[in-house]
Amino acid sequence: MDIVVKNVTKRYGTQKAVDDISFTVRTGEVLGFLGPNGAGKTTTMKAITCFISPDEGELSVGGFSARDNPEEIKKNIGYLAETNPLYQEMAVLDYLRFVAELHGIPAGEIKARILEMVNTCGLEGEKHKKIGELSKGYKQRVGLAQALIHDPAVLILDEPTAGLDPNQIVEIRELIKNIGKEKTVILSSHILAEVEATCDRIVIIHKGKIVADGTAGELRKRAQGHEVLKVSIEGATDANSVFNDLQKLETVAIVDPLNFSTFTFEVQSKDAQSSRKSIFGLCVAKGWYLTELTAIETKLEDIFRELTRKN
């Protein structure tokens, strides 16, 4: 099912939590939703799950409009909320049964479906415990189980790995990747590496507006039109003169000394130019030798920070 968000605005009082945002998620796509706290991620997700209704704009899931047909949308969405609210006094199995019944799963199938969820989410050892007795990681898995139990076409996951230990994070990520193959998934996170690893596309939202929309590769290319190299040279006597010589190169735009004592520099080339050859040539001419010549890829972190720092 496709998710289409068109010109959606949502105000809380006078403040616009979400300001005229538009994006689409295609069937089978995993979208990473990034943004600083308070950017509007959770508000957007709540609007898609039909918990709140936008003040302006259109939202549709699988062709159903959020305004006219929220019940149809709710049948097809699994939602893992940021706070993962659960009934603490209920046993895991009882809770999953409750959710299964609410979703209208036929009585004969419920038992099988619950066991399937327990297996998929690794809840085998905890299924008889009360939810309040579980650790955060297992509570998160219960949250995921209730989001998946009715096999929805769409999954909305708000910070699914928040608070988990590194082992659990890897497991949940694998789970999401497997599930994501046939479902439409929106996943929000602060962990940029995670978004890059699990998502096909990334949307960055800042102060209620979308500031980036594309694959990780596209975002990098857009942010970094220039080649950046990390250069370490040995055999030279004066770091300052190396610095100056590098700057004088035809293809070089900026040279940034990283460490004078080890003669390490960051060399940014001019637009669409590469300086590898000229640096190599310079070293040969001066009798220096290169100990390091590596490309520095703009990290997603840096793109994120740049996009969300400006006003």
């Binding site: 809380y12 959770t42 508000t43 709140i52 969405i77 009934y87 603490q88 409750f98 609410l102 209730q146």
Partner: protein
């Protein structure tokens, strides 16, 4: 309808799992038993085979206990966020409110059914007006339903359970006592207005065995108003959150 029942079932299990149900039943039976059979104007004291004493005691014990049952119904779910999750499932505000109402009502029915031994006892002791007994129970069910709906409303407008129970008692006392008092204190048209608003009037009328449409309309209006107001409060909360 099915969704309402699923929610009611869960809520009822929660009442029993948390022991609230057991405590409520035991306390209610203790108070009822004490004041019906042992203390004060008990059946043995009055020497009549009817349950008027019991109905009179229950009029007050239900008034006090029901807000305690309803106080967490919506307030706790709003505070913990489970209401938010619930409403992203194929369930609407009305079904949530109705489900919680139904579960509490069933609990009261169970509690009242546990007092049937009183009925069988006086049946053995002397001449019983069976109609009066049944209409007495009907009266109790109707005032229970009314207080449940007021209690749910009080729970829907706050995230704090203490505020909930106090609000429910505050609203309830008007219907329970104040309107009746105002009716006695005034005269003419105002007096009959207050008289009609007082739950005591309608309870007395029904317990006497007179099932007048006037009284039924009163109760059903009160119940419906409480639940409708609760639904509106729940719907508005969607937008206020975070």
């Amino acid at each position: 309808m099915r969704q309402i029942w699923i929610i009611a079932k869960r809520e009822l299990s929660a009442f029993f799992d948390s022991l609230i149900a057991y405590i409520m039943i035991v306390l209610f039976l203790a108070f009822s038993g004490l004041f019906t059979w042992i203390l004060g104007a008990s059946i043995f004291f009055i020497n009549q085979a009817n349950l008027q004493v019991f109905f009179g005691v229950s009029y007050w014990t239900l008034f006090i206990f029901i807000p305690a049952l309803t106080m967490r119904l919506i307030a706790e779910e709003t505070r913990s966020g489970t209401l938010e999750l619930l409403l992203t499932k194929p369930v609407n505000d009305w079904q949530v409110v109705a489900g919680k109402f139904l579960s509490t009502f069933i609990l009261i029915v169970i509690t009242l059914m546990l007092t049937l031994p009183y009925y069988f006892t006086i049946w053995k002791l002397g001449p019983v007006d069976h109609g009066a007994i049944w209409s007495g129970y009907l009266g109790l069910l109707l005032i229970s339903a009314s207080y449940i709906s007021i209690g749910i409303f009080a729970s829907s407008i706050s995230q704090n359970q203490i505020v909930s129970i106090l609000t429910a008692l505050f609203i309830g006392i008007f219907f329970q006592l104040i309107f009746g008092a105002l009716a006695s204190a005034s005269s003419g048209f105002m007096s009959s207005v207050f008289n009609y608003l007082s739950i005591q009037t309608h309870f007395d009328s029904i317990s006497r065995g007179v099932i007048d449409s006037k009284d039924l309309i009163y109760f059903f209006s009160l119940i419906f108003l409480g639940l409708a107001a609760s639904e509106i409060a729940v719907a508005k909360r969607n937008i206020v959150d975070k």
